[in-house]
């Protein structure tokens, strides 16, 4: 039997409200607004209060998928990563790195965005990286 709350940052808008993830026996059962946060001071909006719901959604993807014969088929990480890397390498060698482009994400962390642009610039070799800053 274990219940704890983990403080983290809401992933909806740019306000940056601090929420507590309520985790009961490893399961996310809800969120609470942080009472001590200088940003939200113990409050949240309707989206924030329901932040846990999409995390535990039935519709979450649980396995990598590759398109085979027109439809997406579940596969192993090993196969999916090899396939993606192989095809990126092939396109890069045939048409140059600038024939590849990537969209990073305003929903992902700073660390992930950093890794993404490093991946695109250093591993692929192009500056074709952007995200939906304008949307």
């Amino acid at each position: 039997m274990r219940y704890e709350t983990i403080p983290t940052t809401c992933s909806y808008c740019g306000c940056g409200c601090e929420v507590l993830l309520q985790v009961l026996d490893g399961e996310l059962i809800g969120v609470l607004p942080s009472k001590a946060s200088p940003i939200n001071e113990g409050s949240l909006c309707i989206k924030g209060w329901n932040l846990h719901e999409f995390v535990v959604s039935e519709r979450r993807l649980r396995k990598p998928m590759l398109r085979k014969g027109g439809s997406l088929v579940e596969t192993s990480w090993e196969e999916a990563l090899d396939e993606v890397a192989g095809r990126l390498a092939k396109i890069k060698s045939e048409s140059g790195p600038d024939s590849i482009a990537a969209l990073s994400s305003a929903k992902c962390t700073n660390e992930e965005n950093y890794l993404m642009q490093r991946f695109v610039r250093a591993a692929i070799g192009t500056n074709n990286v952007d995200h939906c800053a304008r949307l």
């Binding site: 306000c15 649980r62 992930e112 500056n127 949307l135």
Partner: protein, 525 residues
């Protein structure tokens, strides 16, 4: 934001333009309403009488896309009355004469003709903004999502500098960022022209620094923006697109064009937490994790770098997004370590001057605001104190330009898009959330009752909204909060995607699409 969220509470005057604050940024709106309760003057400029406008001392219902004219008009009054901050202008800015020349042409009466706002209101706003003890400007996508987006933003900066409102407490020009970490994604260089910390890819010294850290040669040519990537896919010059945690098939304007582009990709890889409209075109779908399953940081709209902490294990066989990127990078011959996130932050801090002092142990309780150049620096509450980043603040003399698409007989109404308080962006998260879905299930178009009557529409009724790009069917909601001749559609709903209608005309500098205005017509279904 140049200033901090908490500062808004103590501002003497707040000017909101192009931000539906209570719906889209509720926890910023509460500071604004608190300021109002403490006696602040509240000015809201929005064509619609949005919720927060109910509390405004002055609500300006200006025409869609007439922001530059409106702001020039306000500045005209300020100059005519001699309310400008003369010392500030002399000591901290440049380019004032050019601004003055342009603004001279924008008399309240002329501006009234362009914007539809009574000249008296323009005068009242000028007085409130210029003469209050402290004045803060708050804006969001209603300002930026125009072909004149950059002009709009510069005009607001002009207004703020004219009254000496930048680099002071409770002042500033404060954009509210729509995505939780759009600030961080920009800071981290997820942009085609800059490396982390806005260091230009064309700057050799900056590039050298990163080449040394990463041990590879880096490309020096500016890359493609989203819209150019889509055009590249159409033209065949871009063969592969890798998408992490985005949904361009829904979020981008003129979606038909985007979906066509995606379908032409030779390789489309999508890394996301659910299937989306974009994965329909994907060749590979890699399940990443949500914010609750990983460690890291987000940077909020007031530049505050805040911790994201792992609460639960990844769902199913999904993997942390950073792990996926490292695995692919290794396979392509460039090893990146998914070190503990704290060490990754140390690497970032070493390469990004404004993040220089960001260390996980310092971020523990509620983070730090950049710039934070070193380990002793306490972070920065508001920018441009004493001195602008570029030295002197530069005024831009800007003339009003109408929106890209004008109304005509065939498309006599103006369509604008935005958010509802229930949903977020393309709905990949909120519409999968039962409580939120229940609160607002269906797409709708807001229109004025008289327009509805003219079209024989009586609710609840389905209508068809048509533009040159496409048409969608949805329910009409009648409201006197929207001016006659205007339609508003929230863009969260895939089954009636507003972006099938929007125009992909871009701001020439920022490349931002004009989501906020295009010509449309409505028909009864």
């Amino acid at each position: 934001m140049t200033n901090s969220i908490a500062e808004l509470e103590d501002a003497a005057c707040i000017f909101i333009i192009g931000s539906n604050t209570t719906e889209a940024h509720p926890l910023v709106a509460n500071r604004i309403l608190r300021a109002k309760q403490k006696g602040a003057k509240l000015i809201v400029a929005d064509p619609r009488k949005i919720h927060i406008a109910e509390f405004a001392d002055i609500h300006l219902s200006h025409r869609l896309g007439s922001d530059v004219a409106l702001i020039n008009g306000i500045m005209h009054v300020i100059l005519a009355e001699g309310w400008e901050a003369k010392d500030y202008i002399a000591s901290r800015t440049e380019g004032f004469e050019a601004l003055e020349r342009v603004v001279r042409g924008y008399t309240p009466e002329k501006v009234s003709g362009i914007t539809g706002v009574p000249a008296e209101q323009i005068r009242a706003v000028a007085e409130a903004y210029a003469r209050s003890a402290s004045s803060s400007i708050v804006y969001a996508m209603g300002i930026t999502q125009h072909t004149t987006g950059v002009d709009n933003v510069k005009s607001l900066a002009n207004l703020a500098m004219l009254c000496g409102r930048i680099g002071v407490e409770c002042g500033g020009v404060n954009p509210l960022r729509g995505q939780n970490n759009v600030q961080g994604a920009c800071d981290m260089g997820a942009l085609p022209n800059v490396l982390p910390g806005y260091q230009k890819v064309t700057d050799e010294a900056a590039r050298k620094k990163f080449e040394q850290a990463w041990g590879v040669a880096l490309p020096s040519e500016v890359g493609l923006t989203v819209m150019k990537m889509m055009n590249g896919l159409h033209a065949g010059s871009v063969r592969a697109l890798y998408v992490m945690g985005e949904n361009p098939a829904m979020s981008d304007p003129n979606s038909h064009h985007v979906r066509e582009a995606l379908s032409r990709a030779e390789l489309l890889v999508v890394q996301d937490i659910t299937l989306t409209e974009t994965t329909e075109y994907a060749h590979a779908v890699l399940p990443g994790v949500s914010f609750a399953e990983k460690d890291g940081t987000f940077t909020n709209t007031e530049r505050r770098v805040q911790r994201v902490r792992k609460g639960i294990e990844p769902v199913g066989d999904s993997r942390e997004d950073g792990w996926i990127l490292c695995e692919l990078s290794r396979r392509l011959g460039h090893a990146m370590e998914l070190e503990p996130a704290s060490e990754l932050m140390d690497e970032i801090a070493g390469l990004t001057p404004s993040y220089g002092g960001m260390r996980y142990d310092r971020l523990e309780a509620f983070g730090l605001q950049w710039p934070c150049p070193d380990a002793e620096h306490p972070g920065t509450k508001y920018l441009h104190k004493d001195k602008f980043a570029r030295g002197r603040g530069l005024f831009h003399a800007i003339e009003y330009q109408p929106p890209a698409e004008a109304c005509d007989d065939e498309y006599p109404m103006q369509l604008t898009t935005g958010r509802s308080f229930v949903h977020f962006h393309t709905g990949t998260m909120t519409r999968r959330s039962p409580s939120l879905d229940e609160e607002q299930k269906d797409p709708f178009v807001q229109m004025h009752p008289e327009d509805a009557e003219a079209h024989g529409i009586s609710p609840p009724g389905q209508v068809k909204v048509i533009t040159r790009r496409g048409s969608i069917s949805l329910e009409a909601k009648l409201s006197a909060r929207i001016p006659k001749g205007m339609l508003f559609i929230p863009f969260h709903f895939a089954e009636a995607a507003a972006n099938l209608l929007t125009i992909d005309a871009l701001d020439p500098i920022a490349g931002i699409p004009e989501y906020k205005v295009c010509a449309a017509r409505v028909e009864r279904e």
